[in-house]
Symmetry: C2
Subunit: 212 residues, 2 copies
DNA sequence: CAAGGGACTGAACGTGCGTTTAGCATTCTG
DNA sequence: CAGAATGCTAAACGCACGTTCAGTCCCTTG
C-alpha cells in the first residue's frame, strides 16, 4: 500500500475509497462492502460514520466539489481540462468522479458545471476585452460550448479512444486531440462563412414566419 | 394508449418498452417488472422471449444501432445531431438510448461512435477536397472532435441546460447553442494564431527533449 | 478504578429483483 | 382427436446488498 493508507482518520479513508469506487464504477454498481474492503474497515462502519449510502455520496460530492472548485479558481486558463489532466493522478480521479456526477445529474455535478461555465465565461470576456478572443453573439453559450468540449473528452473517453485507434485513454490521446482543438479554436472548420450566413438567414426567416 | 400499442408482436412491444426505460433510467435502474408493465405483459414473458436482462439489452442495442446507422448513412450532413433532434420523437428516444450506451461503454455504443466518426470523417474529407472545409493536420481527430461536441450536448444536457438558464432541454436550447457552434466552426475562438503557434512550438520542443 | 462513550466488528435481517418452475390456454400437426 | 409446441402467467426461489443489532475493545473522565 502506498499513498492511500496514510495516517488518515477512518472516515477519510472510507470517503477516499468511496470516491475511487464511485468514479470508476458509478454510484449504483458500487456496493458498500467493496468500499469498506478498500478502506480496510467493515461495512457496518461505513453506515456508522455516514448514516447511509446516499449520505456517503453527498459527503463525497461535497469533498470533491470543494477541491475542484478551489483548483478551478486558481487556474485562470481557458484550458481547465488540460490543467486537471496534467496534474498527478490526484485530480484525474476527482475529475472522473465529477463526470459521473454530471452523468447522473446530481446537484454537485450541476454546481461543478456552473463553476466551470462561469469561470470560462469570465476568461472569454477578459479575452474579448483584451483583444485575444473574438467577440461572440452569445458569450455565455460560447462558454458552455467550450466547457462541453472539454468535459466530453472525459465522458466519452473509452469509445473515442478506440475510435482513434489507441487502446487506453492517456496523455498521448489527449495530445492527439489538443492540436485539432486548437486548430478549430484558431481558424474554425469551414473555409468561408457561407454556412454561418445561411444559418443566420434561415433563423431570421423562421423568426419572421413566427411573427405573422 | 396511442402509438405504442399498435398491433406489434409481444416481443417487439417488450423491446420498445425496454428501449424507453433504458434510455430514460439507464440499464441498472430499470427493472424487468417495470418494462413488463409498460409492455402490458408479465415479467416472466420478458425472460421467456429474451433469456435474460442482459440479452434483452443486447437485442435493444442491435435494434437501435441498426435504425440509427441506417439513418446516419442517409443523412449526409455534418450536422448529424440536428438531423436526429429535428425529427419526431422517434429518433430522440433512440439517440438518448445510444448516449446511455456510450456512457456505459457498451459494444453498441462503441460501434455507434465509430459510425458517426467514420461518417463525419468522410464528410470532412469531401469538404476539404471541394474547398468548403479547411484542411486539418489530423482529419480523423477533427472528426472525433466534431462528433464529441454534438454528443456532449446530449450526455450533459440537464446541467448545461440549467447553466444557460432554461429549465428543460428542448428546441430553444438547441437553437441557442447552434449559433455559437457555427461561429466557432466558421471563425474560431481566438483572434489570432498565437495560442496555436505557442502550442505547436511547445510540442516540438518536447519532442526534441524526448529524442536526446 | 468505575463508568461512559465512541470506534469498530460479525452476524443477521429485510427487501428488491432477476430468474425458475409449474401450469393454463390456444394453435399447429399427424 | 391425441398430443406436441407456443404464448403467456402467477407464484415462488435465491441472491445481492443496504441496513440494523448486539456486543467487544479502548480511551477518556471523574
Amino acid at each position: 500500500m502506498c499513498s492511500a493508507h496514510a495516517d488518515l482518520t477512518a472516515q477519510a479513508k472510507i470517503r477516499d475509497a468511496a470516491i475511487a469506487h464511485f468514479a470508476r464504477d458509478g454510484f449504483q454498481k458500487t456496493n458498500l462492502r467493496a468500499v469498506a474492503a478498500t478502506a480496510g474497515v467493515s461495512a457496518a462502519l461505513v453506515i456508522h460514520h455516514f448514516g447511509s449510502k446516499e449520505k456517503l455520496r453527498i459527503a463525497c460530492d461535497d469533498h470533491v466539489l470543494g477541491v475542484l472548485v478551489r483548483r478551478a479558481h486558481e487556474a485562470g486558463t481557458p484550458n481547465l481540462l488540460g490543467e486537471f489532466m496534467a496534474d498527478p493522478e490526484e485530480y484525474q480521479l476527482k475529475v472522473r468522479y465529477m463526470v459521473r456526477a454530471i452523468e447522473e445529474d446530481t446537484p454537485a455535478g450541476g454546481r461543478f458545471v456552473d463553476t466551470l461555465v462561469a469561470e470560462s465565461e469570465a476568461i472569454l470576456r477578459a479575452g474579448i476585452a483584451e483583444g485575444s478572443v473574438r467577440p461572440s453573439s452569445d458569450v455565455r453559450a460560447m462558454a458552455v460550448l467550450t466547457v462541453l468540449t472539454s468535459l466530453a473528452m472525459l465522458t466519452m473517453a473509452p469509445p473515442l479512444t478506440r475510435a482513434l485507434g489507441h487502446d487506453g485513454f492517456g496523455p498521448e490521446v489527449l495530445r492527439r486531440m489538443t492540436l485539432p482543438t486548437l486548430e478549430l479554436f484558431t481558424h474554425g472548420l469551414y473555409a468561408d462563412d457561407a454556412p454561418l450566413k445561411a444559418a443566420t438567414a434561415a433563423w431570421e426567416a423562421s423568426q419572421e414566419n413566427r411573427d405573422e
